[in-house]
């Protein structure tokens, strides 16, 4: 490795010594040019020979001629090598030596060895699988040793309702929860009652879930939505109390974004903890300028984060909230509004609770925890801090709020937007504009001088297509409601075109 340069310099010194010797002998001026020509010719010859052989054989020559003590007992060891067997033989004879050993003949011999390559130097799939199992087992062991010692069950509370973006949001949340390495119970509270759509969506996760309905429908204005969501969450907390679920309660809103470190961090909570939530106050408006203007009007150093604030000794002293004032005029009040959707002062999502705080007859329940029944008729529960008598007992998590591990976001489609149930397109969509010029992969090549005109006789040609099981469809065939995929229809259109050409 590092000796290479040294070795090189050593040999260079040797070869330069050799050259120096010849230089000395040709001290005469007239002889000098002859010597240099001789050296040039010799050099050229050596280069040619090296070209033929495929390696620098000058080192070999030096070794043979100038090595101080070439031992007489040289022999070649039989080796198999991947390339250049004949050349290899030449080098082996010269380079190998027997070790002068006093005790036993050693197993290991100095000199040139073959490079062993197995006949099929490619990964074996069985071995790759074995290796992956080993890696998995090692990682599990690492998690057991360095991760959380006694992991508690997580209880995720999600208020949701059926709407266009429900699948989008719930899929994201579902995948995050499926990746959590701890036991999980997912409580889904659905506004407007339990629907099949939500049930089938949740069932895909394979998680243990409690799916309940809530009798009110989700209103259109953001303020009312927040209130209803809070009520739905309280309802879920009551369920936790009844079922006596034991674990850590987290409020997983369906449109929020969670990182995996979040679930590891909340295992550290004792009673009630608070996290920093990144606020992605998204603007529904098409004009970016108003939003960025409002952002600039607000203090540029505003970090859009809600969460606990600590002093230098990492004790909770207050709360960071998102300063909504600059955005209030431009905020959206209803779902359809083109405005900025603003969060509440402190979102529920930034808090985690120990579920034992909710139990009715829990003897070790701390004094500062209020009873859930007190909030039965309360209209608007802004945050879980209202459950506490004393807000200073909240534990700041995530290095005292320095780590942002979840993001709050509200994106919704218009309230009157239509979407296919279950996002399955049935009956298939109608094709309104046939495409003409895009080359399709299995289309026949078009003739260059042809006229690409669609005429009314196109449809008749399409019907007479030989040997194709796919049925054609054109805009005039609206009456033929045969089931097939839309992609086939597009292919058929192109074939129709090529037929014409």
């Amino acid at each position: 490795m590092k000796l290479s340069a040294l070795h090189q310099s050593y040999l260079n010194r040797r070869s330069s010594n050799f050259r120096g010797l010849s230089g000395d002998s040709s001290a005469d001026g007239s002889m000098k040019s002859q010597a240099s020509v001789f050296w040039l010719v010799l050099h050229g010859l050596c280069c040619l020979v090296s070209l033929v052989l495929g390696f620098r054989f000058s080192r070999l020559v030096f070794f043979l001629l100038f090595s101080p003590s070439t031992t007489t007992n040289l022999y070649s060891m039989p080796f198999r090598q991947a390339v250049e067997a004949s050349v290899f033989q030449l080098s082996t004879e010269a380079a190998n030596q027997v070790l002068p050993v006093n005790t036993t003949t050693p197993r290991v011999v100095v000199g040139r060895h073959g490079i062993r390559i197995r006949p099929w130097p490619h990964p074996d799939p069985v071995e790759v699988m074995k290796a992956h199992r080993i890696i998995e087992r090692v990682q599990r062991e690492q998690r057991a040793q360095f991760g959380v010692k006694a992991p508690r069950t997580l209880i995720a509370v999600t208020p949701t309702y059926v709407r266009t973006f429900q699948t989008l949001h719930m899929t994201g949340v579902m995948h995050s929860l499926m990746l959590v390495p701890y036991d999980l119970v997912w409580i889904v509270v659905e506004a407007g009652g339990v629907t099949n759509e939500t049930t089938s969506l949740i069932a895909k996760s394979g998680l243990r879930n409690i799916h309940v309905g809530f009798n009110e429908r989700m209103p259109n204005s953001w303020a009312n939505r927040h209130r209803l969501e809070a009520k739905m969450r309280l309802h879920a907390l009551k369920i936790i109390r009844e079922e006596k679920l034991d674990g850590i309660v987290i409020f997983v809103d369906d449109s929020n974004m969670h990182s995996m470190e979040l679930f590891d961090e909340i295992q550290n909570v004792k009673w009630i903890g608070a996290l920093s939530v990144g606020i992605l106050a998204h603007s529904n408006s098409a004009e970016e300028s108003s939003f960025s203007l409002a952002w600039k009007e607000a203090d540029n150093s505003v970090i859009p984060v809600q969460g606990p604030a600590c002093n230098s000794s990492n004790r909770l002293i207050g709360w960071h909230t998102f300063n909504s004032l600059p955005f209030l005029e431009k905020s959206a009040t209803h779902i359809d509004d083109r405005g900025i959707i603003l969060p509440r002062k402190l979102e529920w999502a930034g808090f985690v609770l120990n579920s034992r705080l909710l139990w009715k007859d829990f003897t070790d329940k701390p004094m500062w925890m209020k009873d859930l029944d007190l909030f039965d008729g309360v209209d608007d529960m802004e945050s879980p801090l209202l459950l506490l008598n004393d807000a200073s007992v909240v534990e700041p998590l995530g290095r005292c709020g320095l780590q942002v591990m979840l993001w709050w976001l509200r994106v919704e489609a218009r309230s009157d937007s239509k979407f296919p149930p279950g996002w399955v397109i049935d009956p298939p969509l109608e094709i309104t504009v046939p495409s003409k010029h895009t080359p399709w992969p299995d289309a026949l090549p078009e003739l260059p001088m042809s006229d690409k005109i669609v005429d009314a006789q196109g449809e008749t040609l399409a019907v007479k297509r030989p040997g194709k099981t796919r049925r054609s469809r054109s805009k005039h065939d609206a009456r033929n409601k045969r089931k097939h995929e839309s992609r086939n229809a597009e292919v058929d259109i192109s074939e129709k075109q090529t037929k014409q050409n």
Partner: protein
Amino acid sequence: MKMLTNIWRLILFGFLCTVFPSMEPMRTGAIKLHRTQPTERISGSAGDVLDDDPVGRLKVFVYELPSKYNKKILQKDQRCLTHMFAAEIFMHRFLLSSAVRTLNPEEADWFYTPVYTTCDLTPNGLPLPFKSPRMMRSAIQLISSNWPYWNRSEGADHFFLVPHDFGACFHYQEEKAIERGILPLLQRATLVQTFGQRNHVCLKEGSITIPPYAPPQKMQAHLIDEKTPRSIFVYFRGLFYDVGNDPEGGYYARGARAAVWENFKDNPLFDVSTKHPTTYYEDMQRAIFCLCPLGWAPWSPRLVEAVIFGCIPVIIADDIVLPFADAIPWEEIGVFVDEKDVPNLDTILTSIPVEVILRKQRLLANPSMKQAMLFPQPAQPGDAFHQVLNGLARKLPHDRSMVYLKPGQKILNWTAGPIGDLKPW
């Protein structure tokens, strides 16, 4: 001789067992280790000898050589303090301030000669060994003429540090080194060297093998969170073909590194390449196996790095003798693969049972194991300096009939060796 030392070893061990009942490693090493990882005790061939304390078991006398043998050489080139042969310098510094040092040579068990033979560096940083034999010879002539202790035993109770490629053979090229053999004047002394290969001329019976020097602070600075999952199966960074000296291949590393490349360059489980990443240390901590193949010499600092970063070393060097082999059970910690089995490396590694792999990782996590591979400044208990002293202590007491010569008896031939060596330095 061997049985005698064995008996002494057992008695010593028994003594230590009664005197020090709890041998739990309570160290705060240069490497800050998290105490939460369960580790396994390392039981070497003579018990938990890694935790032995050499103080009180031996006495070392350090010869005062003129500074041209040590300080002046170091002044000429400060790089000697950071390259992998720096152990000779740090050992000297350690011994000067150690509790085992004695200023009275009459009561010393071992004699140390501080001569820095591996500090004549090329501009690239590689040590040239051409003057080393003469330097060593000159130092020995000095100590034999100024003190009577060399002639008393002809060096049998002296030890020297020779961390160069092939130890006291003083050459970087193996054939030349074998030709030269160990310096004749050192044939009775104890050699502390990094090179170790069984049935090799340059490894003397009774030598102590040490790890190459690796900078402890640099490695500690690159430690990452232990929670980071180990996702690389096999990791290696280094040369496969030494294009400068051996372009055809087959000479460098006896063809073993080239075989690794040719067989596994396309294998997704093997993260092997010649590129030198800035995250080399961090990557080792994310790997399960780290290859430690031979190069021009069988030893390499990769072994030390693998042990520090908890990556199981896969040693591909036939007949290699690893550092402190009598104290550390390397067979249980690393994986040994014969050079001829390199094409089947993936089969070998994947067929190791998972429990064995987890056990090896636990053994590697033992802080005394990591400490024994390092040369921290200032020295800490259990580090490589102490393991060298432990090794020297295990060779005590000297067999009087072998070590000390009868008056008038001469064994060493002062004119042996190549003529170039006899020139004064």
